[in-house]
Symmetry: C2
Subunit: 246 residues, 2 copies
């Protein structure tokens, strides 16, 4: 990913355990006490590598596990029968993938790696079992599901009532905020996704995304060099998002 304050490369030096993972403050283990954490280590024992462009799972696949992004970057997308598809989210280190699968025992979206990535495999039936004995884990898991619902509602607000500039501004602020929580710069980032994928997520065409980037640059809000973005005026972006158009 970007230039990290704590290099993600070093992660590999730690042993394969949630209790010693430096993502534990961002991932499933948030807030767990030591004994609970130890139990989680027994649960999450395998990893999976997903090269850029490959899918972690596809719509229709039988659901067995959740996945925590360890390194890398993913998109999830749903598609209609007619082939249209919609990016429903972008996931980075510490974020969970696969929650959609619980409802039907089948996944209902595709998860695609946007760069070479690694995930921790969390067998779902074992997670349910473990969360019966460890209430903190249970509670934490529920919170994560609920957070996803709240996030989705935010995206609906964006798609339903914001204009192109507001959407892109909100998107950039959200991305940088999440990157910052992971020790990356708040002001510069490399986009892992294409203009088309951003457009799909934001309900815009890729040309509109491109034009809006250019406009932001002209207005001195950003510097844009293809996928390298520098945020020059974060306050200006925030103003864009919060000021009603109507």
């Amino acid at each position: 990913m970007q230039q990290a304050v704590v290099s993600p490369i070093k992660l590999e030096a730690f042993k394969v355990a949630c209790s010693s993972c430096n993502l534990r403050e961002l991932c499933l283990p948030v807030g767990l006490s030591a004994p609970d954490l130890e139990q989680l280590d027994t649960l999450v024992s395998t990893r999976r590598t997903v090269p850029r462009g490959e899918t972690l799972f596809r719509s229709g696949d039988t659901f067995q596990s959740l996945y925590a992004v360890r390194t890398g970057f993913f998109k999830t997308c749903v598609s209609a029968e007619d082939g249209r598809d919609q990016v429903t989210g972008f996931q980075m280190a510490g974020e969970l993938l696969g929650l959609d699968g619980i409802s039907n025992d089948r996944h209902s979206c595709d998860a695609v790696a946007l760069e070479d990535s690694q995930v921790c495999v969390i067998p779902y039936s074992q997670l349910e079992e473990l969360s019966r004995d460890f209430t903190e884990l249970q509670h934490q898991f529920h919170k994560i599901m609920s957070r996803e619902i709240v996030r989705d509602h935010g995206v609906m607000l964006l798609l339903g009532s914001m204009r192109a500039e507001e959407r892109l501004a909100a998107f950039l602020l959200n991305l940088t905020q999440r990157l910052q929580a992971r020790g990356f710069s708040a002001s510069s980032l490399i986009l892992r996704m294409t203009r088309e994928e951003i457009g799909s997520y934001l309900g815009l065409k890729l040309e509109t995304v491109s034009r809006t980037f250019s406009k932001f640059q002209d207005e001195g809000l950003l510097e844009v060099k293809q996928r390298a973005i520098t945020i020059v005026d974060p306050a200006g972006l925030k103003r864009l998002v919060n000021s009603a158009s109507n």
Copy 2:
């Protein structure tokens, strides 16, 4: 609600228990075995009446309970700082409200009754407790949360990539399908919400909703008399949703 095959009024004759509630096939108890169901009865002991126009909870309220709609009809909406707001869903009998609150111990949306309604109160901490001992209940609860996530993704697809006609057609088909599952007619319904609320949900202005209703009527797909809708050509509506515009 609409003319019911099984009148909701009669529900009041049954005792206050999930195990004898005629919504149990649609609500939290789906698929629970007898012993689990009996436990659920101990959990859900109180009801709450919400008159039309009143809120069940508001964004910012502390979260304590989930609510299962027993009779009536709700909308949920989120709002941005600037006052814009977005309807994120409409809930009818058997559907759960309040899942958004788990993430933060505060609700992040408003739930408003669109007609005089009654909900069953499900104290959340007790639900967590109970679901530790009853794995079916645990699993069912997880499924419901996951289903909400999947539903939200569907709405994103709608908001991000469909045109006005497709959105309204999809909305109507979804409504009638849910009503049908509750024993109501598949072809005629009374809308409980205004054009403006439909528009907010679908990311359209109320005039557009109204015009689209009129258009559907002209094309012989619907009959529209204010809030009374009759679906004349369901196949035609489905064709609208599934045929890609691009």
